[in-house]
């Protein structure tokens, strides 16, 4: 088929545009990834000589190891608590009409509007007023507040997609409401629940702003430890950490995708 020059131009300019957008999005990651292999102890681009030693430093620097385990603890606890609480709220909002339903919905979605530093500051003030120590529970509490709306939303969407007739069919077959919940509703919600948990976990593990306010040196998470590191050193260790982080997250998401379908995690509005 013969194309007119105009159509050809349109076709190629379209392709170039897509390539440009992709490059634009990926550029920071690419620059950092390449910098990680720089042999010299400064962040320059492009590197003149190559080395893997910053990867070794990333693993051996004690604050990072501590931050990683702190972060993992906070992430697992915060996402799990948010999963239980958020799902319960999502269920209530989806299934029942009650007086404060809209208010509850608004409050639970408010962390999307309230900035993380406000949450961090608020939790910090609360903690000092009530003399609660700045331990991990405090960090976990702040993280629950931040990831709750995401988990709630994910569960809510799953409930929307669940065919109510499945539950009706079960009840006609003699199943009590509790039995329906455990044999039909929850098994069918599991992909959505796991997706919500995973989404919350990634957010929580990456969270920096609020964590900076509520953590101490003993409870700092990996992003906070990285921030403190970059204030002292300007070597490519952080670039190496970034590469590790991207590889690990990509691997986890690939595994999750093959089990759950990534569309369910990212395309949260799709019905």
């Amino acid at each position: 088929m013969k194309r007119s020059p105009g159509a050809l131009l349109l076709r190629w300019s379209g392709r170039i545009l897509v390539a440009a957008v992709l490059l634009f999005v990926l550029l920071p990651g690419i620059v950092v990834a390449i910098s990680a292999f720089n042999d010299r102890a400064i962040l320059v681009f492009p590197p003149q000589s190559w080395s893997l030693r910053w990867f070794w430093r990333a693993f051996s620097y004690p604050d990072f190891a501590k931050g990683f385990w702190n972060g993992l603890t906070v992430t697992v606890w915060a996402s799990s608590i948010a999963l239980v609480v958020g799902s319960a709220f999502a269920f209530a909002i989806h299934r029942y009409k009650f007086a404060l339903r809209n208010l509850l919905e608004g409050i639970l979605l408010s962390p999307l509007i309230i900035p993380h530093y406000t949450i961090g500051l608020g939790v910090l003030i609360l903690a000092s007023q009530t003399n609660v120590g700045r331990g991990l529970p405090l960090v976990i509490f702040a993280h629950v507040v931040m990831v709750l709306p995401f988990v709630m939303r994910s569960t809510y969407i799953s409930l929307e997609n669940l065919d109510i007739r499945l539950e009706l069919a079960a009840s006609s077959l003699g199943a009590t409401p509790l039995r329906i919940l455990f044999t039909v509703t929850i098994p069918l919600l599991i992909p959505g629940l796991l997706s919500g948990w995973l989404f919350a976990a990634i957010l929580s593990f990456n969270e920096f702003t609020a964590t900076l306010f509520v953590s101490s040196h003993a409870t700092q998470t990996l992003p906070v430890a990285m921030y403190n590191y970059v204030r002292e050193f300007a070597d490519p260790t952080l670039a190496a950490l970034s590469v590790i982080y991207i590889v690990v997250t990509a691997t986890l998401l690939t595994i999750a995708n093959s089990f759950l379908g990534l569309g369910k995690i990212l395309n949260v509005d799709a019905h």
Binding site: R165, L166, L168, A169, S172, L173, G174, T176, P187, L188
Partner: protein
């Protein structure tokens, strides 16, 4: 008045064996959604083993009625009985009903066997008997050997069979079918209808079937309840519904009907005579009781009760053929007959003779058969 007679007809002409106690009984059941009335004082008695169809357009309240019997909705007024027991406030899981939904609603995370076994598990049936009954149910719907499949690995027709097996395995007091054929393609639909009817008759299970498809309703039912705008308009056997519709709505919703402009000529007892142009026809008098002699009436005539004669033949209406539609076994003629009818008249001519004898533009005479003509007071909407 009309409602009352229907109700009495429903109470007396119950088909099936156990006449003493209806399998399902609705006493003036009403359901509102906000300000709108979804179901207005429904009175209905369904005999044991009877196949009762709720027929009507979408929004007529037929699905609401089904959901009320199932217990998925709570009635705002009236009482519901299943096998004589009051169940108006009984939750669905204690009503012992089987239901097949339009989309089948099979549990996607369970195998075919687990789906069918679900209702037996909730009843605490022991493993051995459960396996036997699941096998029997699958054999009944001709799905032996499909036990380990997941619903998504089955075709639409197979999924429907599983849904049917799942509903029947618990030996329900009533089987509810919510438009079960509408998701199937046309060929499969026909064979599934025959099969379902066979199974229903074999098991003798009381069945309530909801559909908007009058063909399905006429072919499968023992009796049909025609519904519109939240009310039951007529309850009768399929042939009665077709031949003696109780009102304009039933006459136009079930089957094709031509509406001819007529006049009431005389009334004697149960029968009346109406005239359409020069043609006279006998109709039941009850449906036009409030029309005075000489007043205008709408006369409903089925397309197959019209036939073609020569123009000017005595007892015929003049008309002009405007369209011919060949339908295989018969020919549909659309005839323009100004004065006799507001719209085109549809005439169903058996065989293929009309293809050549009544070309488009032919000026013909229309004669009206003597059977099954009904008249109603004039009105716009059905």
């Amino acid at each position: 008045m009309l409602m009352r007679t229907n109700q009495m007809a429903a109470n007396t002409s119950v088909a099936g064996s156990d006449k003493a106690r209806p399998a399902v009984q609705l006493d003036g059941v009403t359901k509102r959604f906000g300000d709108s009335i979804a179901l207005h004082e429904a009175w209905l008695k369904i005999g044991s083993s009877e196949f009762m169809t709720l027929l009507g357009p979408s929004g007529c309240g037929k699905t609401t009625l089904l959901n009320l019997v199932a217990g998925f909705l709570e009635a705002d007024g009236g009482e519901i009985f299943i096998e004589g027991a009051l169940v108006t406030e009984t939750p669905p899981h204690m009503r012992e009903i089987g239901i097949v939904f339009q989309n089948y609603a099979l549990f996607p995370h369970m195998s075919v066997a687990k789906n069918v076994a679900y209702g037996l598990k909730t009843r605490g049936v022991d493993k051995k008997e459960m396996a036997r009954r699941v096998d029997d149910a699958l054999a009944l719907v001709k799905l032996t050997g499909f036990s380990d499949r997941k619903p998504r690995q089955l075709s639409g027709g197979q999924q429907q069979r599983v849904a049917l097996a799942r509903a029947l395995v618990i030996k329900p007091k009533v089987l509810l079918l919510d438009e079960p054929f509408s998701a199937l393609d046309k060929n499969l639909r026909g064979s599934m209808q025959v099969e379902l009817k066979q199974i229903q008759r074999e098991l003798g299970v009381t069945t309530i079937f909801v559909t908007h498809d009058q063909g399905e309703a006429l072919s499968m039912s023992d009796r049909i309840a025609v519904m519109s705008a939240g009310r039951i308009r007529q309850i009768a056997a399929p042939d009665d519904i077709y031949r003696r519709p109780a009102d304009r709505f039933v006459a136009s919703f079930v089957g094709d009907a031509n509406v001819l402009n007529g006049r009431l000529v005389e009334r004697s007892g149960d029968a009346a005579v109406v005239s359409i142009g020069d043609v006279r026809a006998s109709v039941p008098a009850a449906s036009i009781a409030e029309v005075s002699i000489g007043g205008s009436v709408d006369v409903f005539v089925r397309p197959e009760h019209l036939s073609v004669t020569s123009r000017g033949a005595s007892g015929s209406l003049p008309g002009t053929v405007t369209t011919q539609v060949f339908q295989g076994g018969h020919v549909d003629l659309y005839i323009d007959a100004p004065g006799s009818a507001r719209d085109h008249i549809l005439l169903r001519s058996p065989g293929i003779a009309a293809l050549s004898s009544c070309p488009v533009g032919a000026e013909i005479g229309l004669s009206i058969g003597s059977d099954d003509i009904v008249a109603f007071p004039p009105g716009e909407a059905p």
